[in-house]
Symmetry: C2
Subunit: 201 residues, 2 copies
């Protein structure tokens, strides 16, 4: 039996539990709403949908459309709901961090500090931009947290996580830039001291 990608499969199940979607719809949902904490390409989604259908956790209805290509509308089955809830109540261990930038920072003593300063600034900007978008989304959709539906409320929690994540990265970049600049300056000072007051010998 083919094996499911647990988190991906269950994200799809959860979205289908709220509303029937086509693969194409799901793909857009991932881009717009789920992407703060889980990414998937259309290809991954279609592949996972095929597996889920084979297990009868979801079922498809082919919708004939005139103005567009036909589509398959998927909805969750009773079995699917059961499996989803079973999975939801299991504990989840932290995922491991894998960050190219850190690997490069860790090796940056082998290259010109200016290169790393530029890269850190570029990354700071990326995270600041992402953060601004998330905050805008928060402002637009969740300005009154007490009035949210259950589903909206949990979406808000994940958005808050995304906001903390991006702001954490932006802040670290700022800290790293400052520390690195300070260090470069100290080295320059030491160098000019050395030139002005050469050690006797």
């Amino acid at each position: 039996m083919q094996v499911l990608c647990m988190a991906l499969a269950h994200t799809i199940l959860m979205l289908l539990a709220e509303q029937a979607h086509s693969g194409y719809d799901l793909s857009k949902e991932f881009n717009e709403c789920v992407g703060h904490y889980w990414q998937a390409t259309p290809q991954q989604i279609y592949r996972e949908l095929a597996k889920l259908e084979k297990r009868d956790w979801i079922e498809a209805e082919t919708i004939t459309q005139e103005s567009r290509p036909n589509k398959k509308l998927y909805s969750i089955t009773a079995t699917g709901k059961l499996k989803l809830v079973e999975w939801l109540v299991q504990p989840a261990d932290p995922m491991s961090v894998r960050e190219d930038l850190m690997v490069k920072v860790r090796g940056s003593h082998l290259v010109n500090p200016e290169v790393m300063l530029q890269e850190l600034e570029r990354r700071r900007q990326i995270h600041a931009d992402k953060l601004a978008k998330l905050r805008e989304f928060e402002h637009e959709h969740f300005s009154e947290p007490d009035r949210l539906s259950d589903s909206e409320f949990v979406q808000y929690l994940t958005l808050r996580c995304g906001i903390r994540y991006e702001s954490g990265w932006a802040e670290w970049c700022t800290e790293a830039i400052e520390r690195l600049q300070q260090r470069v300056q100290q080295k320059r000072d030491a160098e000019s001291d050395r030139v002005l007051q050469p050690t006797p010998g």
Copy 2:
């Protein structure tokens, strides 16, 4: 030609650029020092070492030991150093977040809120523990940031990143727990209002 796992290969190269290591040594380094930002199992490391050796980016010397099994001591070659630096100066895009816990939070409106509260508390504790360890490490090894060597300094930057990461997660857990508890309480209040003052009809 076999393909390298870029970040993993270059982390290994970077460690070998500082000092010769056996696969086993590298594996311990990953557990102790690199794990804040990149994880690798011994198996991944041995596999990558074999690929790197085939390309002549690293070279191995077999060390005959009497009190222990023999080992292969790897060191970086001139080509390896070149390739490492070439890679270090390339920009790195943010890695995507993939977090099972978020997927479960996003679906938690389908289960009893108490289950999610417990899970969030468990996770908060995990991140708080990890944070305490990292802070202890910071205190032990980096209490005087101005006196660090270049290599130690960049290590310190990655440690600061790990600290921010873990504290960010712990704080988000706390926030989520508070918001969720507040919501549960509001629902209880609304429920008791409904019972005490039933709507006429």
